[in-house]
Assembly symmetry: C2
Homo-oligomer: 189 residues x 2
DNA sequence: GTCTATACAGCGATAGAC
DNA sequence: GTCTATCGCTGTATAGAC
């Protein structure tokens, strides 16, 4: 594990933070270039156009989500605890008065190229699938208690997490997200 | 009540639909002008700059919300029924594969001028205040059943409605919003 | 792989005629 | 109240030298 990254990864890091703060149409190659310390032409070398950059961002984001939940599943057995850790995946951007990548892209969806839309849907699908499985397991093993379809509950949880991020940001109060997330999990006790 | 509107109102109507589809930074005066059938200079006559236009949009949106909930309160007594009608306020944009104005502005918040941010926070505050009151009344009168603070529940409902809009849009499935909203109200039975 | 230079479209905004 | 004309700036993107 080396400390320094290659330029492509650095560009993706900066681009992701810019999307999370300003949206996919709220930043330019010039913004990335300034932060990375190169010229815009160099960015185009790594990602010929903004569509390529956007797709790379989503692919990486989904990969990281899959890796994070896989690791989470391997080290945690209690379903309630799994959900608590899932919450933490989304609390980092909230602390920086941002939202996660998927919330920003979801609101920009009308201006996104088709491949990015498909990638975004895949990301949400992965979240819902994981949530539904954890809810089912938790109910079967007695860690979670709720009525109705786990499928609907998964949607409910994901939706409130997304909306919670928007509210926290609008009020400049990260605590709003945490209280909303806590309330969502409390309902499963 | 006349059928035709003045130009300012027409501009606001078009602008609102554009914000709801593309975000505050995703449309230009040229887009409005084309749809209204005038030139961009005319838009600047009514709203000197985009900030003025944005503020007018939010002010009108809050006024309409206050009027809608006031009317809703006057014609409906059952709290559960009130919440069901509240849901309908947000389901119109979802059918058009858009989100409500507040969701779009909330995700654009980092690029908005201060007055627009304040207006947005006021709009959310109005939603939360109304929800909290209806939740309290409903529990007191036996129409609604839930545990914990109504304040937290109000946040939970608003958040899931906002997130539900983003999910419905991302999957191009308005039904997702309706199922999420239904699930949120079902929990109050 | 990064640079300089540049093309070209779109943006918000203004001046001044009608 | 709407128009034409125009300005200055920023956006994405490319060609070609190093």
């Amino acid at each position: 594990m080396t400390k320094s990254k290659n330029t492509s990864e650095t560009i993706l890091d900066i681009a992701q933070s810019l999307v999370q703060e300003f949206g996919f149409n709220g930043f330019s190659y010039a913004h990335i270039a300034d932060k990375v310390g190169v010229k815009t032409a160099s960015i185009h070398y790594h990602f010929p156009n903004k569509e390529d950059l956007g797709e790379a961002l989503i692919v990486r984001y989904l990969q990281r989500f899959v890796a994070a939940t896989a690791h989470l599943d391997s080290v945690t057995k209690n379903s309630k605890e799994k959900l608590r850790k899932y919450t933490l995946l989304y609390s980092e951007p909230v602390q920086d008065f941002c939202t996660c990548l998927s919330v920003m892209l979801a609101s920009d969806v009308a201006t996104l190229p088709e491949k990015m839309r498909e990638g975004l849907a895949r990301f949400f699908e992965a979240n819902l699938t994981w949530l539904e499985r954890v809810l089912d397991e938790g109910r079967r093993e007695g860690d979670l208690h709720f009525e109705g379809a786990s499928h609907l509950r998964a949607h409910q949880i994901l939706a409130s997490f997304q909306g919670g991020q928007l509210l926290a940001r609008s009020f400049r109060d990260p605590g709003k997200f945490h209280r909303i997330a806590e309330e969502a999990l409390f309902a499963l006790s």
